[in-house]
Symmetry: none
Subunit: 212 residues, 4 copies
Amino acid sequence: MSETRPQLSEARSSVGARRSEATEAAVLEAFAALLAEVGYPAITMEAVARRARAGKATVYRWWPTKAHIALSLISKAKIEIPAPRGLSLREDLIDYMTRVVGLWRGDAGLPVGLLVRHCYAEAWSDPELAAALQAERRERWTMLNAIIEAAVGRGELPPGTDLARAKDFVMSWPFYLLMTDRLPAPDEIARMVDDTLDGLRAGSSRRPSPGI
Amino acid sequence: MSETRPQLSEARSSVGARRSEATEAAVLEAFAALLAEVGYPAITMEAVARRARAGKATVYRWWPTKAHIALSLISKAKIEIPAPRGLSLREDLIDYMTRVVGLWRGDAGLPVGLLVRHCYAEAWSDPELAAALQAERRERWTMLNAIIEAAVGRGELPPGTDLARAKDFVMSWPFYLLMTDRLPAPDEIARMVDDTLDGLRAGSSRRPSPGI
Amino acid sequence: MSETRPQLSEARSSVGARRSEATEAAVLEAFAALLAEVGYPAITMEAVARRARAGKATVYRWWPTKAHIALSLISKAKIEIPAPRGLSLREDLIDYMTRVVGLWRGDAGLPVGLLVRHCYAEAWSDPELAAALQAERRERWTMLNAIIEAAVGRGELPPGTDLARAKDFVMSWPFYLLMTDRLPAPDEIARMVDDTLDGLRAGSSRRPSPGI
Amino acid sequence: MSETRPQLSEARSSVGARRSEATEAAVLEAFAALLAEVGYPAITMEAVARRARAGKATVYRWWPTKAHIALSLISKAKIEIPAPRGLSLREDLIDYMTRVVGLWRGDAGLPVGLLVRHCYAEAWSDPELAAALQAERRERWTMLNAIIEAAVGRGELPPGTDLARAKDFVMSWPFYLLMTDRLPAPDEIARMVDDTLDGLRAGSSRRPSPGI
DNA sequence: GGATAAACGAGACGGTACGTCCCGTCTTGAG
DNA sequence: CTCAAGACGGGACGTACCGTCTCGTTTATCC
């Protein structure tokens, strides 16, 4: 079906109305509002369209499932993450995690963590969504590369450190806490990072990770 | 006339028919069959009842949602976990994790891991289910107590080790792998345990965990 | 099925408990209460049993449908109808109709008219109920025989008058009014009787109709 | 962003898809078929939708209850009723009643009488349906006006005859016969009209009644 | 008095229909 | 040509009753 749908990136020379950016924004806004009001599982495509004053067909044209709308919201919810200060792996990670967990908890005005975990759950049964989610994740974890490479440069981590596995390991504990509904408060971030580092430093050089 | 009949306060102690065990088994069997055939999200209470040749009201009487049926299946899917051999924490954990991951992968004839993660996802929005899940988890992790206490007794872990936190930490990495759809093959269990132990040994004495 | 059920009239030599009159009364009472509270169509066997603190099987044992319970109530709702005074057909009929319509309107503490018309409606599709209704009707219209025979004796009606047809004709207009929800008030009974006696040609110019 | 989109008060005047006439016809057809097969009380909205290959929501959108579907069928079942020949009230009424009773008995391919009496029964508990039924009745009895007015013009009925009451009286006897399941055969129509015209006293000695 | 059997209350059971909601598609006319 | 509005066939939701069926308990006779 997707070959019959216009691609956002391809230049369209045809006549007629173009995709309405106002509608796209209205749909995302409606989704966010419903998320706050009724919770993710109770959101329906029907309600999103109604609330956005959009036709159902319009919503379906651009997002095949509600998880894709959630993913759009996640992608839009970027947060300013400053470059690592390069003092130490621990401090760089604390800075980074403070931002990430803050984003998840709702610092961007949206409980991104809720969206993330529900997207993961739906991706268990939807390979297409899983791929989209992975792409989003790769893009978002780039900053971690710089942090870990700097740590390797400073000798905090061994030279042969597997970058992919290290990123994966670093994110695993906060992700686990997100999945088990125990996201740390800001003043608990340091401890969470320490938990992670204990494992990372001891085992980082051992073997490559399958990558996530 | 009604004064000659028993009133609410002095009602006869009638009992009525009892729950049918055959029906309960048929429902669980139907659920498992549908899980294999159409996948968890596509299972409906309607289809479960139809397949089990049970009335919908009967299914709803005993299980308020399909996640509760899944939880019943999880509870029934006990697997023989031998007492730890007590050689070392690492070997005891490898034995234990081999059983747990095997159960998750389907060694009991049921992909318990799929059920577990979907139950967690539904519990995000259902406190009652979350509580039931927690009760099930507590019961199931008792063996870990013995393993960790033995390790403390042998001096592998410091005397002040927080049991709840240690259990939580030990399960976090396999759980993370389950949630991200990368459950290890049997020959990868040892490595998974090593990943976990690196973190556990370094940080086990540091602070108490909130407990999961 | 009824051959497997005890016949009330046949002598039973076997032992065992007898039909509980208290329960029968409680069921009828519950039905009447529900009729007032929720209306005939919303009455269910389940609710009657619950309200009467009777088992559902007990209710079904004695009344196969709710219409049969209604018929039991109708049969019990006898009203004192004095013998005709024998002055004239018109006056005797007015006396009689006043009682009958009063019974239908609820003078016996029960809107018998509602029960009657719903029983008729259910009898359209239930021959067994239709037969029971007819038996009840025959018994109830005996007084009309005396009234009409007296009128024949006085010469008000010709000697060859068909009794069955006359009774039928006399009841048709009030029955029609009952079925069309326009049961007359007490002071309109005389007019209703005159309508019946006169027919269209004789009475057409007399009074306006409320319209149906 | 939403400020650039139409608000509720200035909503675009979109129209949407229109009611499907094919579906309406299919529903009425399915209802008629089920009426013949299982009888009115056994008809369910579910079965009607299934048979018509229509969604249940579609059926409920246009008909709130099955009685409303029945009423739609009644309204559609018009029959050619010729203008009164104006010979006499009796002959005009016989012509008219022959058509009406024929319609009720099924001359239009549908046992309209069954539908009518069940609609009346349901209207006892549904004021909205009662109003719809009354509207239908008013429209359908217009021909009677002409018949009765002609009779007044010829002097067969007195000049002050109340039209509404006369129509009501004329219909009461056939209606009573319909309600008591004794609709006359074609060759009995004349007698039914005579019964109506004469009243009890004038006609009581003429013929025996079948009894109710 | 003990055995026996019917009727009882309670209520679980397999079913089915209820009326609502949402799915994803299609149709209509406005812009 | 896209959009909103919304009707459509379909199907699951969770509830309510249907009429039947155990379950023990109670009750009334009979041995």
